[in-house]
Every structure is written in C-alpha cells, then in structure tokens.
C-alpha cells in the first residue's frame, strides 16, 4: 500500500509539472504594433499612404503618435523615409501650433515613425504630415483633422519674463500609492507657430494633500533629460486627492504651477 501511495504522488507530481510546461506556451503575438492603437486618420498623396496612429484618442497633453508610410504602388511599408509633422489649430482669424516632437533620428521603428504632440487646447486640430518617400523618390504633404478631448494635463502660465509657458504632465499617467515616476515637459511660446522646449530649468516639486495639510517625503525633484522632458519621483503615501506644486526657475524664479491628481 505505501508503494502505491508514493507512486500515486509521483504520478500527480509529474502531471503537475507537465501541466506547467503546457501552460508556459505563449500565445502567438502579432508583429503589427498598430493592432493595439487607434487610427487617428489616413490619407494618400504621391503614391504614398500616410496613416497616423496613437495609443488612444488624442487629448490635451502629451500624445505619442505613430506615422506609417506605405508605398501604394506595391503596398509595402517604407522604413527609410522621413517625416515632419506640424500640429495646427485653426481658430478662424488666427491659428496656432503646439509643442511637438518629430521622429528622433528620422528612421522608422517597426515600420512606424514615432512622433509626439503636446496638444495645449481641446477642439478640432489639424495635423500636417510632410513626407519623403525614398522608395519612389516622392515627397508631399497630407493633412488630417481630428478632435482633441479636454484634460487637465497641460498648465499654461506667464513666466517672470512675460513669456507664456506650457507645463505638461506625462507621468504618473496611472498614479498609484507609493513611489511613482514623475515626468513633465516644459515649453514656451516663441510665436504662434514655434513652441521650443526649455532645457535648462530647475524644477522644485512638492506633493501635498490640501485637504489634510501635509505632504510626503522621499520625492525626487525632476531634472532635464532631453527635448524639454524632466524626470523625477513622486511619493503618494495614501490614496486620495493630491496636489503637486511645481516651482520652475532659470537662475531667477520663473513660474509656479500645480497639478491635481486623484490617487485611487
């Protein structure tokens, strides 16, 4: 009898292990990264189709967008082309652009040219996409129209130098209790069509719960990385309504602004 019991146990163990190896087989992944994105718009010119994707529907704030260039003559994706975008909001009498980032290095990654736009206002926006299709030596421009949803991720403030600044919150996009990555971008309005990044500001960040009158320790002030992106750490000690006060300076105090965040 004891032998039978041991045998049964061994058999059960083997079955359990074989079960594990079956389960470890990963589901087939598709190579097309756009499957998990939304198509913002698409248009063709000069035998070239330009498709614009985004992880989600555009909203005020920092939006990553991905451009795919396809040669319509043979329906192949063009990876060695070049892309330049220009966001534009047409307000009748006047129009203005927004801070944006063209593909770093110019080339496509997995068939997509990564760009970004800081939409600074909700409403109908135009996105002009200039392309050069190396495959058929064509170049041209398409224009897409789409709606940008409102959000409170962008704060504008007039600096001590009387310029208008835009501070955009990127992280935490999904705030959690504990230590979170913190990331903002800082731009200013040079004119209606140019919003250069500020790369030399010192940022002091102070999270607090206004309803309680206390803050949190262990935060790391954001410092500049590249293209106007500043990264640090923010610590939320509990769930609830938090405010992050930001104090920017470039030698002298420049501006203060704040973001309200609900930590679930």
């Amino acid at each position: 009898m004891p032998h039978l019991r041991i045998f049964t146990l061994l058999l059960a163990a083997m079955l359990a292990f074989s079960g594990c190896s079956d389960n470890s087989t990963e589901p087939q992944t598709t190579d097309d990264p756009t499957e998990s994105m939304v198509l913002i718009g698409e248009d063709s010119a000069q035998n070239t189709r330009i498709s614009v994707y985004a992880p989600e529907q555009p909203a005020v704030g920092y939006n990553r967008i991905y451009v795919r260039m396809t040669n319509t003559t043979n329906n192949t994706v063009v990876n060695n082309g070049s892309i330049a975008i220009t966001p534009m909001m047409n307000m009748g009498q006047m129009q203005h652009s927004a801070p944006f980032e063209d593909p770093a290095g110019g080339a496509a990654v997995d068939g997509l040219y990564p760009c970004a736009v800081n939409f600074i206002m909700a409403g109908m926006w135009e996105l002009h996409v200039n392309f050069q299709n190396q495959a058929n030596n064509d170049a041209g421009e398409i224009m897409l129209n789409f709606d940008v949803a409102p959000s409170s991720m962008v704060k504008s403030a007039t600096g001590a130098d009387a310029r208008l600044y835009f501070v955009t919150l990127l992280q935490p996009a999904v705030p959690t209790v504990g230590l979170n990555d913190f990331e903002i971008t800082v731009h200013y309005r040079e004119n209606m069509n140019a919003f250069p990044a500020i790369t030399d500001a010192a940022v002091e960040m102070t999270p607090s719960m206004p309803s309680m009158g206390h803050g949190s320790p262990n935060n790391v002030n954001p410092v500049h990385g590249e293209m106007g992106h500043y990264r640090g750490k923010v610590n939320f000690t509990m769930s609830g309504d938090w405010r992050i006060d930001l104090n920017l300076s470039r030698g002298d105090s420049l501006l203060t602004t704040s973001f309200d965040i609900n930590v679930p």
Binding site: L179, S211, M212, H214, G215, T237, M238, G240, D241
Partner: protein, 737 residues
C-alpha cells in the same frame, strides 16, 4: 526556621502530648530528593499560614502530631524548591507521607501573587484591577493613555523591548496606537500571579532586551468540588459599575472553571474634581478552563479567554476605541515524571485573534492641529498561532530545560480619511499592509548546582525570524520610503545570559548576572505606516531594514530571605546598541532607525517586614536612568524615583490595608526627540478593607487617592491626570463558605 535545630525535642513533645491527651493523631513522613530519591536532611515542615512545624532529622524523616482536620504543609530545604502538600489528618493511624523535593531553580522572575496558593501572605486579591497588581511589581511603571488598560513598562523599556505574554502565549496588540496592551485581557479575578523577569537573564519566554511580564492565569481548582462566587462593586471616581462571577467544579479527574465579568465606567474625575471627558468605557470578559487528569501523570488543559470592550474614551489621543474583540485559545498537555531523569514534558498550542476598531466621530475635527476637517476611522487585527514544547531533564547537579517556541503573526491595520467637506474625496491608507511574521526559537535553560551554596543558571536562545508584507498596496506605500530595501526580511539572532546565586548563609544570597541579548524589531517597527505619535507629533513609518537591538547587561543583587525582615537590593546596567528610535525623515515624518546606542541603568530596593502576627509592612523603591547617546539626552518615558509603602493587617477573615505610592520629580526629559516636559512629584494614599459580613457574604471597600491629589505621572501621555479620590465598595457572595 528556628525549630530546625530542635527535631528531637519536638518529636519528644509530640509523643508526650499524644500520650497525655491520647487525642492528637500523629503523622510521619520522609522527604526525598526527587532526582536521586535520596533523603533530604533537615528539611523544614511547616503548616501553611502558621509558625507551627517541625524539622526532619538527618535521614529525612519527620513526625507531626495534629488534631484531625485539613492541612497544607510547606516543605522547604536549602537548595530545593518549596513544596506544598495538602493532607487530611484522621483520628487513629495515618499513612506515612512521601515528599519529593526538586532541586531549587534560581528564580529569574519575581512573582506578584494574586490568587496563588504559593504564599497566603502575599494575596493581593483585594485589588480592583490587573493594572493595580502590575503597578505593585518592582521595576514596572505604567503608561497611561486613558482610564483603561495601562501599558506596562519594565525598567524604562516598553513595547517590543520587553515580552508581554499570557501563560507564555504571544499576543500582539491590534491597535497601532497601542490602545490595547494585552494586559487588558486578564481580569484580576483570573490572575493567579504576575511573573516579572527583569533583564535578559530568563530568555525562555521572549527574546527581549528588557525582560518579560507573564500573566499567569488562574486554573480550575481540584480541591473545590463546587464553588460559586459573585461580586458587585461600584467606584465613585468614574461611576464604574462592576459585576463578577466565578464557578468552579471538580471531580476526581476533571475540573472546570468559568468566570464572567462586566464593567461600565463613565468619564473619570482627576484630583480637585476636574472631569476628564472622553474617558469612559464598557467591557466584558469571560474565561473558561477545563483540566482533565489522565492515568500516568498526564494532564490536559484547555483555556479560553474572551474579551469585548466598547466606547473606550482616549482623552489624550485623537480618537477613541469604539470596539475591541479578543479571543484567546490554549490547549496544553503536561506530563510530570514520577521518577528521576526526565522531569516533565509540556506542550502547548495556542491561537488568538484580536480585532480593534477606533474612530473620531465623537470628536470635533474642525480645524484641529493634526489632520484637520477629517474623520479617521481605523481598524486593525492580529492573528497569532503558536506552539511551545518544553522538556526538563535532571541529572546529578544539573537541571536542563529545552524549549521550542514558534509562532506566526498576521497583522493588518488600515485608516480611512473622510473629509467633512463633501467635495473632497476620501483618502485611504494601510497602517500595516498585512504583515506576516514567522518566528521560531530554541532555548536551553540550564542550572548547575555545584554545591548547596552556589547555583548557576544559564540561558541560551536562538531565534529565527522571517517577515514580509503581503498586501501590494501596503508594499508600495512602504517602498515609497524604502525604495532600495526589500520588505521581505529574514534574520537569526542569538542571546545568552548567566545568573548566579551564592548563599552566604541561611538567610543571605548574593546574586550576579551577565547577559548579551538581541531583540528583533516589532512588526510595527518594520512595517508600520503613517502612525501618529502624540508624544512628539510626528507620523512614523516602519523600516524593514532595521537591525536587531543588541543589549549587554550586568546585574548584581543581595537578598535576605526566610526571616521576619526580608529585603533585597539590586542594581543593573544595560547598554543597548542599535537602539530603535524615531529619526526625523522630513518635516512631518519620522522613520524607525537604529541609533548608535542607549543606556538604561538603575536599581530596585524592596523590603517586607512580617513579624508573624497580623501585621505586615512592605516597601519598594525603584530608580531608572535612561540616556540616548546619539542625541545626548535622556530617553523618553523613563520613570523617576518611584516607590510604595504598604501596611496590612489581617485577622480572621478581616483585612485592612493602607498603602501609598509616590514618585519624585522627573527633570530628565527627552526634549529633542519628544515633546516631553518635566513632571512634578506625587504622593498617593490608598486605604482598603475587606470584612466578612454574614455567612457567605463579604464586603470590600476602600478609598484610593484619599488626599484627592491632582497629579500626573511622567508616563502619562500628554500629562493625562491620574484619578482623583475614589471611593469604592463591593459585596461578594460565595458558596460554600
């Protein structure tokens, strides 16, 4: 005793008396060493509660002549543990007695006896509450946060630095604000005795740097086939009403005991009739015990304690405890060997669950200093499952106990924050994100008696502890503070101590001890989060990376025993490295950290004068010095010079007591690490009496703080005043007499 040198004369007198009256039956016996079964020469045999007795001869034999009746004999001899033996003397011939004495063990703990039969002279059962008994123990001072469940400190150390156990069981407070010390769960009618071991010499019950307080509960009494007792009492200072009842049943092999008590108190008055609001409480407590004897010296005990309290006001804290619920289960098997070699085998399994709710809905939170405009309901629980196994072996001059003591603690606590403004969303945090602590200890307790004068007791203890936080939310909160330290920790610590006693003569003992011990951080020190400390106004956060505290200590003492005037004096020095303390982290936050070192030193003096008549005088004095070397300032919550004097008069069932407690001014304060201030001295006088009324009835009455002193003690948090003049009286009925 002085009769010792006169065995022959007494035997002669006994024979003479027996011959003359022909009425006194004689009873003889033999006293033997239980390990070797050799005779113990010149042991004293005394009738309990009297000065009557005889001494054995050189071959361990004794003879007594007594009128028929029930007696308890106390048999004692130098180098042996005193044994009590009940007997019934009958007319005519009585069977000879065979008394086995076990070699004495150095008592590394003091006992404050309440309902214990060990010494009827020490019965403290007139006290109203367990806290009163604790306060009588030398070296113990109580932290007061409310008129409820004071928290004991031992020689200036508290919380995780000392062990606090019930019948050896680990029980952990569920309240992160320490509103529920485990002493609350043993009502005074269930307290047989307090075992207070000071210093790290007795490591059998906890790995601590300061000592252990063990609340030994009362068990069913096989000597009382049936008894019933009920008491009702009233205290004026808080309009406290109390009802207690106890029933005991015993047959030859089974004994049962049950108690139930209920208390209800309103706000109390401090001295000068100052009303302390938010200080009432309601509480009930029940305890059930069953003991079954089996053939072959096997005994199985089951014990259950249930304790429920509600609406407990905490005047000095931000909130009140609305409800507490505690359930404590224990199952023990004991086997006492009748022969030499293995002396006993004990094994216990236990489980306890403590739940604690508190909130500030009864407080005005508008615009208050801490967490304004917010209600903060909190909940916490602990669950502890443990087992203890112990084997005791005697061989030659050696007595060795080996103990295996393991437990698992699960602890959780959370807090909601509800704004009084509807547009502000609620906030939430975990004070303890489901901490799991596993601890397994192996202890060797060895006593060596190279001669009748010298005894050496040594303890060696190894603890292995592993701990973790299981709640992801809780982990993230803590990692916001300790990004680079794993919350999962595993540690092994070693502790060892040795204590020796040298008998200078029949009445004098010289004592000395050396110990090096470690204590692990508590689960709150490791994982606590956002704990508001009213003594310094900071929010505390645990530190998973804390190192164990490391103590080196030395103690010397001198004692006079077995004389009408008994006294003892001792002094100690305790150097603690890696002392765990709050360290400023940012404007509002402190974290637990190991600071360089701290020193605790002091001494105790106690004396009892019992000339043998109805009078007994006792006094005690304790001084504690604590210094934080890192901050170069005194440690917080260190009691000043404190003491007490008591005078008792007993005659028949009538009992009178006059006692006082006093403390000197405390000027040594921790002004940098806390908001402590200096505390004035105090002197409290209490008067107590117990008198039999009629058959089956007895009255208890007294007045505490007779002079109605308005005072607070140094360990009263935020200077919460002590209770003012309190008249109390109670009436008890008992069956049979």
């Amino acid at each position: 005793m002085h009769m010792k040198s006169l065995p022959g004369q007494l035997m002669f007198l006994c024979i003479l008396l027996a011959a003359a009256s022909n009425a006194q039956p004689s009873i003889g016996g033999l006293v033997l060493n239980n390990a070797t079964l050799t005779p113990v020469a010149y042991a004293d045999v005394v009738i309990s509660g009297t000065q009557q007795g005889v001494a054995c001869d050189s071959s361990g034999a004794f003879q007594l002549c007594l009128p028929p009746g029930e007696y308890q004999l106390e048999i004692s001899a130098l180098g042996y543990q005193t044994v009590r033996h009940r007997l019934t003397v009958r007319q005519g011939e009585n069977a000879p007695l065979r008394i086995l004495l076990a070699p004495a063990v150095i008592a590394l703990s003091d006992a404050v006896l309440v309902y214990s039969e060990e010494s009827p002279h020490h019965i403290d059962q007139w006290l109203n509450a367990t806290d009163d008994v604790l306060q009588k123990a030398e070296g113990v001072a109580m932290i007061r946060r409310a008129n409820f469940a004071l928290e004991p400190t031992l020689r200036g150390l508290n919380s995780g630095q000392i062990g606090l156990v019930i019948d050896g069981m680990k029980i952990f407070s569920a309240c992160v604000d320490r509103m529920d010390p485990v002493t609350a769960y043993v009502e005074v009618e269930n307290l047989e005795k307090l075992e207070v071991s000071r210093g790290a010499f007795d490591l059998t019950k906890s790995a601590s740097v300061g000592g252990t307080i063990n609340l030994v509960t009362r068990k069913p009494d096989f000597q009382r086939p049936f008894s019933l007792q009920a008491e009702s009492g009233y205290e004026t200072v808080s309009r406290l009403r109390r009802l207690r009842s106890e029933v005991n049943y015993a047959s030859a092999n089974l004994a049962l005991r049950g108690t139930f008590s209920i208390k209800s108190a309103g706000n109390y008055y401090a001295g000068n009739r100052i009303l302390v609001t938010n200080s009432g409480f309601e509480k009930n407590n029940y305890k059930l015990d069953a003991v079954r004897k089996f053939a072959g010296n096997h005994i199985v005990e089951f014990s259950f304690i249930g304790d429920n309290a509600r609406d407990i006001g905490y005047p000095v804290l931000l909130m009140d405890a609305t409800r507490t619920k505690s359930q404590i289960y224990r199952l023990t098997h004991r086997w006492d060997s009748p022969g030499a070699g293995i002396q006993s085998l004990n094994s216990t399994v236990y489980y306890n669950r403590i739940d604690h709710w508190m909130d500030d809905y009864q407080r005005d939170v508008t615009g208050r200093e801490v967490m304004p405009d917010m209600y903060m309901p909190m909940f916490g629980y602990t669950r502890t499952l443990g087992a203890i196994g112990e084997i005791t072996v005697a061989r030659g001059q050696h007595l060795l106990s080996a103990v295996l003591d393991g437990y698992r603690l699960s602890a959780f606590a959370d807090m909601k924050m509800e704004s009084i403004f509807p547009d502000v969303s609620d906030a939430y945090l975990l004070n303890i994100g489901d901490a799991q602590v596993y601890n397994l200890a192996f202890i060797l307790d060895h006593q060596w008696m190279p001669s009748a004068r010298l005894r050496v007791r040594s303890n060696l203890r190894i603890d292995h502890s592993s701990r973790d936080l299981r709640n992801e939310f809780g982990r993230r909160q803590l990692q916001g503070f300790w990004d680079n330290i794993s919350v999962r920790q595993s540690t092994r610590i070693f502790s060892a101590g040795s204590f020796l006693e040298y008998r200078l003569g029949r009445h004098h003992i010289l004592q000395g001890g050396l110990a090096q011990s470690r204590r692990l951080p508590t689960h709150i020190e490791s994982y606590g989060f956002f704990l508001y400390n009213v003594t310094d106004g900071y929010f505390y956060t645990g530190n998973p990376g804390l190192a164990p505290e490391r103590s080196r200590q030395i103690e010397i003492g001198f004692e006079q025993i077995d004389a009408p005037l008994r006294w003892r004096v001792n002094a100690y020095y305790n150097h603690i490295d890696n002392y765990i303390s709050g360290v400023l982290q940012s404007d509002e936050f402190k974290t637990f950290a190991n600071i360089r070192s701290a020193v605790i030193a002091g001494g105790e003096l106690s004396a009892t004068f019992a000339p043998g008549g109805p009078l007994r005088l006792s006094t005690s004095l304790a001084y504690t010095y604590g210094h934080n070397r890192e901050m170069d300032e005194p440690l917080p919550l260190i009691p000043p010079l404190e003491g007490g004097i008591g005078l008792q008069y007993r005659a028949g069932g009538f009992w009178l007591g006059l006692d006082s407690r006093f403390g000197s001014r405390q000027e040594r304060i921790a002004s940098r690490t806390t908001r402590e201030d200096e505390t004035a001295g105090f002197f409290i006088v209490n008067f107590r009496a117990r008198l039999p009324l009629a058959k089956h009835f007895e009255a208890q009455l007294g007045v505490e703080n007779f002079l109605d002193q308005q005072y607070h003690e140094h360990l009263s948090i935020n200077n919460l005043p002590g209770r003012g003049r309190n008249f109390y009286f109670g009436l008890s009925a008992h069956l049979p007499d």
